[in-house]
Subunit: 346 residues, 2 copies
């Protein structure tokens, strides 16, 4: 295969999927341009504290990948860069990048791998959960940041240690209005992972997880669910109707119905974590459209195959890290196979 | 890369994962030996009626893959063949195959991809569900076979049309005794898929799905769950305590507790389908051990990486077809990258 631009790949998105894809392409001897709009690689995983099942710091996974990418002679990283246009002509893709503080760049490639990921949705569309109103209500990603900075014990907004914590599952997921119709696939395990970390810090911490269905379908996930129950984490079936404060009270109170025992609950909480759904951004939708891939009503791409185009990781549908890595490898193999076939047909 | 045996791959298992892996290797120009113990390729998927979300016949997916494999000049298929021994020496794997009705074969390879899949467990270990006692109680895979042969309307063991049908979820999954500790990941969607097919055949059919948690975490799965509820499929939370027949009655009766309304149920059924868990076979465990990969208590392989060894598809952990395909591609890329690296280091 020649080293012309028709045999290189543009990987759009520098999260774990885009990084893994670029490294897998490199291992197959294929040049990749890795394009990231932020100033650094890492994506959403870069904002996470620890990952299940190894419970290693996410930075310990991302760090070595970034070093490997920096050392690679076949991966060219473009940071602070956004794809402005993307066109295909005669099997060759042409992309125009706008680069922060620099001139635009034009790139050519034989394949595009889209790995822009999903973004946590804004929970203010569900005002009854109090996000934006109470500083003690935060999103899952904000909670990951809090955990990263305070692994010896978390403190609430007033500085006092958090003794009672509530996770609310499916915030904006699995709904027909005010959110996303699909399951975001990683939020149950995310809450269980953090509940285990918190119980490890403070076995006395009172932790409730308010759920609709517990979805621990991945490898080792059901074990972790069992372990959390044994550690005393309370799993309560039924989303709350509201998160509020009683007059003059300091603590939040989470109100709802336990759908298993048909009783109303009112749970005091120092901190409420909203496990928010993951949505396709408008920018990603635009990129998907530029690539002539159809978009479903829920914002995810159609499954049809467009020549030379591969959609990897969460942009394709919400998935955990292991599944993102697997799809990254599959897309690298797919792109390599596609370009080999094209060059041998010439 | 030379065409010596150190640059070819043994793919063990000719189900959808092994077939996809072999084709992905072929697309990268790598020779593969595809080893299958049965007389034909297809594996578990070959016993399935239709697949979600396309609702195409599984045979329409497998058929073209088999044709492509047969046409490939780089894939050598070994049917009715079992791996008897597997050794690694100096980075080269040597396998001995026993072939039904033929002499043994010795093969060498630079990589092994294990794709032997999982097997539905035997539900007689849970005698209260009546499997083996009542012919109207069958496993999910037996039900797939029934559907394949009777897509215009299913009939019970007595020949009368089935009007009332019950799916029991998590039979032998998610349990600490009498089964597997993990979630088998595909059984919720399997029941929903077939409920939709049945409702399409006969909108009046009375279908109940008895579940613990509904796990529709994949792409389009939650939509299908919603669609099934709209079509009148009853989702009842709570596994039954037993499946039995009243004296002199023809129909089965499924008894249990609805854990949402705290009421006992007794559901008449012409047919009961047990959505049984998926387990690692003893033979696969032996192969995993021969490859020096650790085995967890639940029979699934450890996640550690052994040079030149890749475990793909359900053998790694239960997963749906799309995820099997993705992991197949990732393992093909992994094997190709590994062998390229080795040959360039020489």
């Amino acid at each position: 295969m020649s080293t012309g631009t028709e045999n290189q790949v543009l990987v759009i998105g520098g999260g774990v999927t885009g990084m893994r894809t670029s490294l897998d392409l490199a291992s197959l001897g294929i040049r990749a341009h890795l394009i990231e709009r932020d100033r650094s690689l890492g994506g959403l995983l870069g904002q996470v504290n620890r990952v299940f099942p190894s419970m290693r710091l996410a930075s310990d996974i991302i760090g070595p990948m970034i070093s490997e990418i920096e050392k690679s002679e076949t991966i060219k990283v473009h940071l602070s860069s956004e794809v402005r246009s993307l066109e295909e002509h005669d099997g060759l893709f042409r992309a125009s990048l706008s680069v922060e503080g620099g001139p635009d760049i034009e790139l050519e490639a034989g394949c595009i791998i889209l790995a822009t990921g999903l973004r946590p949705m804004d929970p203010t569309i569900i005002p009854e959960f109090g996000y934006g109103r109470y500083p003690e209500v935060m999103t899952s990603l904000e909670f990951e940041a809090l955990l990263r900075s305070s692994e010896r014990g978390i403190k609430g907004s007033g500085g006092a240690p958090v003794k009672k914590l509530v996770f609310i599952q499916c915030v904006g997921s699995r709904v027909e209005r005010r959110g996303l119709p699909y399951c975001s696939a990683v939020c149950c395990m995310g809450a269980i992972k953090n509940a285990l970390i918190l119980k490890d810090m403070d076995p006395e911490m009172d932790i409730s997880i308010l759920y609709i269905d517990i979805r621990t379908h991945g490898k080792g996930w059901e074990d972790a669910y069992r372990q959390a129950r044994k550690a005393g984490v309370k799993f309560i079936r039924g989303q709350p109707s509201m998160v509020t404060k009683r007059p003059r009270a300091e603590r939040l109170v989470v109100c709802g119905e336990n759908t298993l025992i048909k009783e109303l609950y009112e749970i005091d909480a120092d901190l409420v974590v909203l496990q928010v759904g993951l949505e396709q951004t408008l920018d990603s939708r635009e990129l998907i459209s530029m690539l002539k891939v159809g978009i479903r009503g829920d914002g995810l791409p159609d499954d049809e195959q467009v020549d030379g185009v591969f959609i990897a990781g969460s942009s394709e549908s919400p998935k955990d890290i292991a599944s993102c890595m697997a799809q990254a490898g599959a897309c690298a193999a797919g792109a390599a196979g596609y370009m080999l076939r094209k060059s041998s047909n010439k």
